[in-house]
């Protein structure tokens, strides 16, 4: 049975590989561990889909020892310290254990010339890494995220660190109240994230570009973004908004404090899709959470909210009018295309909210309103044409009926004669 599995494992090895770093004779590690079964066989079974095995690496590439010996059951010969045999590392040793290869540029480039080799360095800057270095074996090490035997490439959809699984992987610890309590950390991040617009995009639409934990917190260098860097983190994707935000800071010569960082309006893990009613002074407005009635900012928010709402309502109205004209048979596709420009202005105005510059915002709204007005004009023209068509049809039918009546009378006259 074990021998059969060994043959299968060898047969399943990729046919096109980079040069194997070790000699190719059958490994005695596989043979013995399979024969032992149970816990001893688990690493071997996991290796079947392991990215390392796929690259031609085997047990002794990590654990050392003599894989060519031990076929006769001589464990000591296989686990020969003189041949570099290493026991499984402790949790505190794991980062360094993996880094023996992963931080070795010369070695790693044999497999992929573009691969990164800074993971250990980054890890040491992370909260996980710092605590690990300080002797805390409970914090995450490589194997907690990537697995031990059976590690898959990040791009493999079955990998625990693939974007679609990463949040679950982080949540294994960060949603564990027992563990997080020891560090005084909250555990709601995962549940919050799952309700966010980011999670909807990632899981609902399958958009792998949508952010998950590591896109904001980093992977190996995982740290919570500091207050001052939140806008930079969000701005790595929402560049225009971040740039407007920073412009405001520079123009006004002030260091915007906590009050107006992204998360104040948009939340952090539970980021919701921004809606127009977040602007203004309505019940769902985020402006009024900081600005009270009587403040000039409150009045500005009110004007901006009303301006955006007018533009959106006008656009919907113009669209509806053109759609009705289209359904009535008037060709308005060019006008509908032109009206799409107004939607661009709506988007632009919503982005300009992040400049906190009412003048700029209202200019975008005014430009959009001009386009909307063109759409209304086209809609009115279409309906005028529709009326003219029906009047023309009425007149034509009157003429046709008159001609038919004349012809009937003529036929009767002829046939009476």
């Amino acid at each position: 049975m074990g021998a059969a599995l060994l043959v299968l494992l060898l047969a399943a090895a990729p046919t096109q590989e980079p040069p194997r770093p070790s000699p190719t004779p059958p490994s005695s590690c596989l043979q013995c561990h399979l024969e032992l079964g149970g816990q001893a066989a688990e690493p071997v079974a996991g290796m079947r889909d392991d990215v390392h095995a796929g690259k031609g690496l085997s047990c002794h590439d990590c654990h050392g020892g003599n894989a060519a010996a031990g076929h006769d059951g001589d464990i000591d010969a296989a686990h020969d310290a003189a041949k570099g045999w290493r026991e499984a590392p402790t949790r505190l040793q794991v980062p360094q254990f993996c880094a023996r290869c992963h931080a070795d540029a010369e070695y790693m480039k044999r497999f992929n010339p573009h691969t990164r080799i800074d993971q250990l360095g980054e890890y040491r800057t992370s909260v996980h890494g710092r605590k690990n270095a300080a002797g805390d074996a409970r914090t995450a090490v490589c194997i907690d995220c990537h697995g031990v035997h059976g590690i898959r490439a990040v791009a493999d959809a079955r990998s625990s660190v693939h974007p679609t699984h990463l949040a679950d992987t982080c949540a294994r610890c960060h949603a564990d109240a027992g563990l997080m309590d020891q560090y005084g950390m909250p555990t709601a991040q995962y549940a919050d994230y799952k309700t966010s617009v980011h999670a909807q995009a990632l899981y609902g639409k399958g958009d792998l570009a949508a952010p998950t934990c590591n896109d904001c917190h980093g992977s190996h260098g995982a740290v919570p973004p500091g207050v001052g860097s939140v806008a930079n983190v969000c701005g790595s994707c929402h560049g225009r908004e971040a740039s407007l935000f920073r412009e405001t800071e520079q123009k006004k010569g002030l260091e915007l404090d906590l009050c107006i960082q992204c998360m104040v309006c948009h939340d952090n893990h539970a980021v919701k899709a921004p809606t127009p009613d977040m602007l203004g002074v309505g019940p769902r407005s985020t402006c009024i959470s900081c600005h009270g009635e009587g403040e000039p900012e409150y009045a500005a928010a009110s004007r901006m909210g009303a301006g955006l709402e007018r533009l959106r309502a006008g656009l919907a109205d113009a669209r509806g009018r053109l759609e009705r004209a289209e359904q009535a048979g008037v060709e308005v596709s060019e006008d509908q295309f032109a009206l799409q420009k107004a939607q661009d202005h709506v988007v632009e105005a919503r982005v300009l909210v992040h400049s906190f510059d009412e003048e700029r915002f209202q200019a975008a709204v005014a430009e959009g309103a001009a386009v909307v007005e063109t759409g209304h004009t086209a809609g009115r023209r279409a309906f005028r044409e529709l009326r003219e068509r029906r009047i023309g049809l009425g007149i034509s039918l009157i003429v046709i009926v008159a001609v038919i009546a004349g012809l009937v009378l003529k036929v009767r006259q002829i046939e009476a004669d």
Binding site: G329, S333, E334, R389, R390, G392, L393, L407
Partner: protein, 366 residues
């Protein structure tokens, strides 16, 4: 020298008559008479088809002033016709509605001819040319459907040409001939455009000319039942002068048809849809024009294989054989009132019921 106001016209008539022999044609028209009986109404369908065809020619020429027959410009040119060209929407809508009404009238004309046994000797050639004209009208419809280069037309043409490609022996050749390659492309559009505005009009002119000459040569057929009644009662069938009585009655029908077409065009302008994208997946509910519906639905419902023969192939062979039987009806059905002739009448009703049912089914299923 005459001083009457119509003197110049008389001189013009005299000049033309001397050279073209117009008096003889007028004399023939004056003497032409149309049988008057309970089935006379069906005689108007031929004239109606001719009237609708003339609308097709007129509106088609007007559309040619703006239409551009290439994949890059076809859709936009039709869009321009519908939105910008003066009365372009009216001309295109009339062209499209009239085309559909024309096909319906031609079918009705064919079935009335069939049921009234008007194809019997000596009118076999009139029947053959009539059938050829029906085929030409369907070809006009098929080729014209693609010209706006919209999504529905694109995929319907893909399906339609695939069916042509399934014909045994010549299928592959027919498919490549129609498409101008293996796929429906801009080359297919250009090809269909040429067929629609040059090849088919030329063929139709010839076949229609022969058909009309044969109709004049043999006059209107009197149904066997009416002839029998005449023989039994000993009374000669009543007739109606073609000029002006029948022509004026024809004109009443034409005016009514024009009114219906104007109303359809004004109230339900022909849709343009979205521009064809050869790389987009076929939208759901693709179906051909209604007059190909019964064939489309039949092929769709046939199982993959019947007795080891590919279902679609079997369907196409059956349609081809059915059309051949229909075509040669005048050669087989030679004795009106005879048992074989009654069998043809039953066959006609069965075919009519089948076409109506499967056309309706196509709309229900999609």
């Amino acid at each position: 020298m005459s001083t009457a106001p119509d003197a110049p016209l008389r001189r013009l008539w005299g000049w033309l008559d001397e050279r073209a022999g117009l008096s003889a044609l007028v004399e023939m028209a004056r003497h032409k008479r149309v049988p008057l009986h309970r089935h006379t109404l069906w005689y108007y369908l031929g004239g109606m088809a001719l009237f609708l065809f003339s609308i097709q020619v007129g509106t088609g020429i007007l559309l040619l002033l703006y239409y551009r027959g290439s994949a890059g410009e076809a859709f936009e040119s039709v869009q321009f016709i519908m939105a910008k060209a003066p009365f372009g929407w009216l001309v295109r809508s009339l062209h499209s509605w009239s085309a559909n009404v024309l096909v319906f009238v031609v079918f009705a004309h064919m079935f009335s001819t069939f049921f009234l046994k008007a194809y019997r000797r000596p009118r076999e050639l009139t029947w053959f040319t009539g059938m050829a004209l029906l085929g030409l009208m369907l070809a006009f419809g098929f080729s014209g459907y693609l010209l706006p280069w919209n999504t529905l037309a694109f995929f319907a043409t893909q399906v339609g040409t695939e069916v042509a490609g399934s014909v045994p022996v010549v299928g592959r050749f027919a498919l490549r001939l129609l498409r101008g390659g293996d796929q429906v492309t801009g080359g297919t559009l250009t090809r269909f455009y040429g067929i629609h505005v040059a090849v088919l009009p030329a063929l139709t002119t010839v076949v229609l000319g022969v058909h009309l000459v044969l109709v004049q040569r043999h006059g209107m057929s009197v149904p066997p039942g009416v002839e029998d009644e005449g023989r039994r009662t000993g009374r000669a069938p009543r007739t109606l002068p073609f000029l002006p009585n029948f022509l004026l009655r024809d004109a009443i029908g034409w005016c009514a048809a024009l009114g219906v077409l104007a109303a359809l065009a004004a109230l339900f302008p022909w849709e343009l849809g979205t521009k064809a994208d050869p790389f987009a997946p076929a939208p759901a509910g693709i179906r051909p024009e209604w007059y190909f519906g019964f064939m489309f639905q039949t092929l769709k419902m046939l199982p993959g294989h019947v007795l080891g023969i590919e279902g679609e192939l079997l369907g196409i062979v059956a349609f081809t054989l059915g059309a051949l039987v229909w075509l040669v009806a005048p050669l087989v059905d030679r004795r009106p009132g005879h048992r074989a002739s009654r069998a043809f009448t039953v066959l006609g009703w069965a075919v009519l019921a089948y076409i109506a049912a499967f056309t309706a089914l196509m709309y229900v299923k999609s």
